[in-house]
Structure formats: structure tokens, C-alpha cells
Symmetry: C2
Subunit: 197 residues, 2 copies
């Protein structure tokens, strides 16, 4: 049996910090969250463990953003591999986003509600990020295959994700209406219908 370690592994503590930071950023925003808050959240006595792993507070947010986008990217690759038709791919992507909204709202708050460019000026916007560029390739394929109408690419993105993101934002801000699953299918239908041939 492995002896219980008091001092945590590097990767372990790093993840712990990222999770804590994500939670706080999503709750209060980046600027309203201090390193002291993060320190309290992980139950440390000082901010040393944090500043050791990450040079600056910005680095935490930056790594967080990358981890989230990378995971999204992997999921989208998986979805593309498993589904042939564009409509099925998009449907699964929407399902994924709503699942995240319910199971990990912090992630969706970070992506949709926080203005990431305000504290990470170097980073690309969501629209220009790898996973969402990939999704725009899917739109393109859909236009070619005749599943999607021949609209301006920017408009396709805006119509589809405008609706999806607005509904998710509502849920994140706590609309007191129907069940989430109802909004999910309504959102999907409206978003798809707005671009489908």
C-alpha cells in the first residue's frame, strides 16, 4: 500500500488550482477574484502553492482557457468521427454544450458570460478558437452537401450559435421557466431550422 502523501503531486495541485479558479472566475468574474480567494478555495494557508505553479494570475486564466478549448476540440473530433451527416454532428455538438451547461456550468459561464479578451488580450475569441473554427468547417460541409442553405458563413454561425448561446446564457442566469431539456430541444430545432435547407 502506498503511503499517504502530505505534499501533493505537481499535476495534482495544478489541477486543483485550475478547478478552484474556474469556479471563482465563473462566480465572481476574473477581476473580483484574488489569489487569496483561490488560496482559500483550495484550503491552503498561503498563495505560495499558486504562484509557484503559475507565474501570474493571468497564467491561470490562460491555461484554463486552453484546457477548456482543448477538451472541446477533442470532443468535436470525436463527434465528427462518429457521425457522417452534418445534421447529426451539429446535433451532438449542441447536446454537448447543453450537457456542459448542466454538469459544468462554470465552463459555460467562463466561455459565454465572461469577457475573456478583457483579461486575456492575447487570446483568440471563441469564434476564432480552434474548436469553433472546426465547427465552421462543418457548416461549410453542410452547405456543400446540400443540408444547409447557401448563406454567408458568418451569418450561418450567427444564426445557429446566436440562438444556442442565448438560450444557454438564459439558463446560466437562471430563467425560471420550463425544464432545461425543453429549452434544449427547442433551441436545437430553432437553430437548425434557421440554417437548414
Amino acid at each position: 500500500m502506498e503511503k499517504e502523501k502530505e505534499k501533493k503531486q505537481l499535476t495534482e495541485i495544478k489541477d486543483e488550482i485550475l478547478v478552484a479558479a474556474l469556479k471563482l472566475f465563473a462566480e465572481k468574474g476574473y477581476f473580483n477574484t484574488s489569489l487569496t480567494d483561490i488560496k482559500d478555495q483550495i484550503g491552503a494557508k498561503t498563495t505560495s502553492p499558486i504562484t509557484r505553479q503559475f507565474k501570474t494570475k493571468q497564467t491561470i486564466a490562460s491555461e484554463l482557457y486552453h484546457v477548456i478549448l482543448d477538451n472541446l476540440n477533442i470532443s468535436i473530433d470525436d463527434i465528427r468521427r462518429r457521425n457522417k451527416k452534418v445534421v447529426d454532428q451539429l446535433r451532438e455538438i449542441v447536446d454537448l454544450l447543453f450537457t456542459l451547461t448542466v454538469d459544468a456550468p462554470e465552463i459555460m459561464r467562463f466561455l459565454l458570460i465572461l469577457n475573456v479578451t478583457e483579461f486575456l488580450p492575447e487570446e483568440k475569441s471563441l469564434y476564432e478558437s480552434k474548436p469553433f473554427q472546426k465547427i465552421q468547417k462543418i457548416f461549410e460541409a453542410g452547405v456543400k452537401s446540400g443540408e444547409i442553405r447557401e448563406l454567408d458563413p458568418v451569418m450561418i454561425y450567427c444564426q445557429f450559435f446566436g440562438i444556442i448561446f442565448q438560450v444557454i446564457t438564459m439558463i446560466l442566469n437562471g430563467v425560471n421557466g420550463k425544464k432545461i431539456s425543453v429549452y434544449q430541444s427547442s433551441a436545437w430545432m430553432a437553430a437548425w431550422k434557421s440554417i437548414a435547407k
Copy 2:
């Protein structure tokens, strides 16, 4: 001839501060803007004129938010008065929002891109604000009159403004595509079509 005043009027300086703050908030965000920045923007030597008119920095943002919403509210009343059909009212509201996007992008950035609740936790979200509650009354009337489909009220809002806001956000972030007027009419058509009977 009136003698040139060195000391500015109260309301005059107040407006000047609000305009300066709006510009900087929209550019860099609330937290990246210091009172010193605002002071420089209005060409004062110290922050005294600012802290005299507004007790705190938050107050500036708060008054700004109210002024913007009040003006929007007035415009919407005017639009409702001048147009009978719901479709015409909504069309004019969309025109107004796009006009603001071109002529006063700071205002739209403040409303759509900044996360207002992060620095004004007491204030209502855009969705719950007076002018947008009023617009939801218009949606309601449209459903009654048969111009709009019988959808969930939240979904009507999300479909219509999801598309409109997403397009405006794209423009504010500088999409390098078609002319704005093209996006404007495309956005209107898509948004209206998504809720029209």
C-alpha cells in the same frame, strides 16, 4: 457676448465624465479602467472633478447604465407610438440597434460585450431591463395579433435577439466580411423569420 467660463458647469462636466468613462470602459473594460485614466481622458490634472461628481467609480458605471437604458426606453416608446404593426416596431428597433452599433459602438459594447453584473451586481440584466421588458410586451402583442408564432416567450426572445446580438457582436469585434448594411438586413430577416408566423 457671454464671457468664456473656466470652471465648467456641473452638468457639463458630469456628461464629459460619463462620455469619457463610456469610451474607456468599452475599450478596455471596467476593471482595466482607473479613475486616473478617466481623468486623463477629460484632460483634468487630478481625479478631484470625478470623485466630486460621483462618490465612487461604481457610481459612474451605474449612472452610465441607467442613462443608456433610459434613452433606449424613450426610443422604444417613440417607435411603438409611430408604428402599429408589430413587425414594423421590431424592424425599427433592430434598425436602432444597428445604427447605435455604427454611430456609438461604445454603447453597444457596454451593453453586449461587457459583463455588467460583474461590476454592477445590483443592476438588472439586459433581459430584465425596462426597455427589453417592453420589447417582450411587443412580442406578446405579436403572438396575440397572429404575426408571431405561439412559442415560449423566452424562446421568442432568445431566437430573435440571439441572432441580432450575435451579429452585432461580430461587427463590434470587427468581422472582415460584407458591409454592415448587408449584415443588418440579413440579421433582421433571419431573426424575424425565426419567430414570424
